[in-house]
């Protein structure tokens, strides 16, 4: 099987890639393109071949963004035949990991070029400034790998980094993250924390390395599980085999986080679609940068579908596992991008009495989820009009709404009361009541439908009609 990396993915899906040959500004313009595409419901991968710095000067490396904005394309990258099967597929695949394969530096494309000393400048990379009010350029697809000094077990997570200068940046591991635990352990010993940030890989590796795991537990096995083959790793140049990095990544930035060194960070565009406030973040000092020849710099459009799609797909797998344990009639889960990461839709096949509400309670325990809707199998959880129809016609709020206060939530939720540490959440049971007895119809009005042969004839008529000029709304 040929190696699977960012380049193989782009080559395999050329028709979905928009290659931009003219110069494109890194300050806001590429991100503005993503906003426009999101708003018009189009999701090409963007490959900017001539990125321009803020002063108009060209930068050597190409930029890929919008890599995972399309659910269909991201599912294809994972080998999922239909994106609507993500929940079940992800639940199964991420639970079965594959051990990584270690290769020598000479066999690691990511170390083909090494920038050291004065050469190791972050300002040589085509880093984007995405939104207004952000203080400068941010790495948005940098996977920070650290390790637990007690056990040696590594951890990987995407953490944003504000480029402050040639060899200095912030990085923001949220206080409860495993990377922050590792950082604190090093600092408690009076030692700088070693970190390697790797950028650019096959989308399956990107999603697999984001799997939610216990502490301490390496992400490489999970990444291999999602990739479907061993992830190739190589020792980092500065940290050796204590921090391995993906051999087929595009760029690796290595260095240390000096003890007790912080800097202001943000405001920064978040998955909610709002700017998160300025916070305090650890500093990082660059030791060296390694790259593939003609490296492609990967950027995630923060708060755009580019970033929401992969994380929401992984959430679907996790929710499926959580809910299936208490509600065996669960058949599918969708975390729609229009709900950011706050909405989840659960689909059931003939749930027993009480089962939908059990499922709602279980799903609301997922920290980021704030609103969960349970529906039957005749409702398309990937079509908002279908879901809203179920809510409109199958819900009496005093009976079917379930509000639970004081559950864990996202502190980025702009609607939280000041000082709140927990969230108020809602479950909506939009399923139909079960039939009074097996074989009998449910005691509800039948859905108005037409027979399948009539639908087929209608489709044939429409196919021959054209209709490009007909009103869309």
């Amino acid at each position: 099987m040929p190696l699977r990396d960012l380049r193989s993915f782009l080559a395999d899906h050329r028709a979905a890639v928009w290659e931009i040959d003219q110069p494109v500004g890194l300050r806001h313009t590429l991100t503005a393109l993503q906003h426009e595409l999101d708003n018009s419901g189009r999701f090409p991968v963007i490959l900017a071949k001539r990125p321009q710095a803020a002063d108009g000067s060209p930068l050597g490396n190409r930029v890929v963004t919008n890599l995972t904005a399309s659910r269909e394309l991201t599912a294809a990258a994972l080998g999922i035949p239909d994106h609507r099967q993500t929940a079940f597929w992800f639940a199964r695949r991420s639970a079965s990991g594959i051990d990584p394969l270690v290769v020598k530096a000479v066999d690691a494309p990511v170390q083909q070029i090494v920038w050291e000393g004065e050469q190791a400048s972050l300002q040589r990379l085509p880093v984007l400034t995405q939104h207004q009010l952000e203080p400068g350029p941010y790495l948005t697809a940098a996977h920070a790998t650290t390790y637990d000094p007690d056990t040696g077990v590594d951890n990987t997570a995407i953490q944003r980094c504000w480029v402050l200068g040639e060899r200095r940046m912030t990085w923001f591991p949220y206080p409860t993250t495993h990377n922050m635990r590792n950082l604190r352990k090093f600092w408690a010993r009076g030692e700088p924390c070693p970190v390697a940030f790797w950028i650019g890989h096959h989308p399956a590796v990107l999603l697999g390395s984001q799997s939610k795991l216990k502490y301490p537990e390496s992400h490489w096995r999970a990444a291999g599980g999602v990739l479907g083959e061993p992830l190739r790793l190589t020792p980092s140049r500065l940290h050796g085999d204590k921090i391995m990095v993906p051999a087929d990544a595009e760029i690796v930035i290595e260095g240390f986080s000096p003890v007790d060194s912080f800097h202001a960070d943000g405001p920064f565009g978040e998955y909610t679609g709002y700017l998160g406030p300025q916070v305090q973040a650890p500093l990082f000092e660059v030791g060296c940068i390694t790259l593939r020849r003609d490296a492609i710099y990967h950027d995630y459009g923060s708060g755009l579908t580019d970033m929401l799609v992969p994380d929401n797909m992984a959430m679907e797998g996790k929710l499926y596992q959580m809910v299936k344990a208490v509600a065996p009639s669960l058949i599918n889960v969708h975390v729609p991008t229009e709900g950011r990461r706050f909405h989840a839709y659960l689909q059931f096949q003939n749930p027993a009495r009480g089962e939908a509400r059990d499922a709602l309670a279980a799903a609301l325990a997922y920290r980021r989820v704030k609103t969960v809707v349970a529906v039957d199998e005749d409702v398309d959880i990937f079509a908002p009009q279908s879901l809203l129809w179920a809510i409109a016609t199958r819900v009496q709020w005093s009976r079917d709404g379930m509000i639970i206060d004081g559950l864990s939530g996202s502190n980025l939720d702009p609607s939280l009361p000041e000082g709140a540490n927990t969230a108020s959440k809602m479950g909506i049971d939009a399923t139909l009541p079960p039939a009074p007895r097996p074989g009998a119809p449910r005691a509800v009005p039948p859905v108005a439908t037409v027979p399948p042969d009539s639908i087929q004839r209608a489709r044939e008529l429409l196919a021959s009609a054209g209709g490009e000029s007909w009103p869309r709304a």
Partner: protein
């Protein structure tokens, strides 16, 4: 259940009629009365008004058999 589906006639409070069973206030219950045609066994929803004295007979949407419920 799809419209027009035919099953064996169920036992019900009234011949051919089916309504949901009572339960706790927080449990979902259906509000619709269903009738199974005694001739072709097609299920269809009927208004409770058709069960009241003096009401017109129900009419099976499939075979048009008249079905007095009052």
């Amino acid at each position: 259940m799809a419209q027009g589906m035919k099953t064996a006639a169920p036992a019900a409070a009234k011949p051919g009629l089916l309504r949901d069973t009572p339960g706790a206030a927080w449990e979902k219950r259906g509000n619709t009365l269903w009738l199974s045609c005694s001739h072709c066994q097609t299920w269809f929803p009927v208004s409770v008004a058709l069960t009241r004295p003096g009401a017109t007979p129900a009419c099976c949407p499939q075979c048009h058999t008249k079905l007095p419920l009052a």
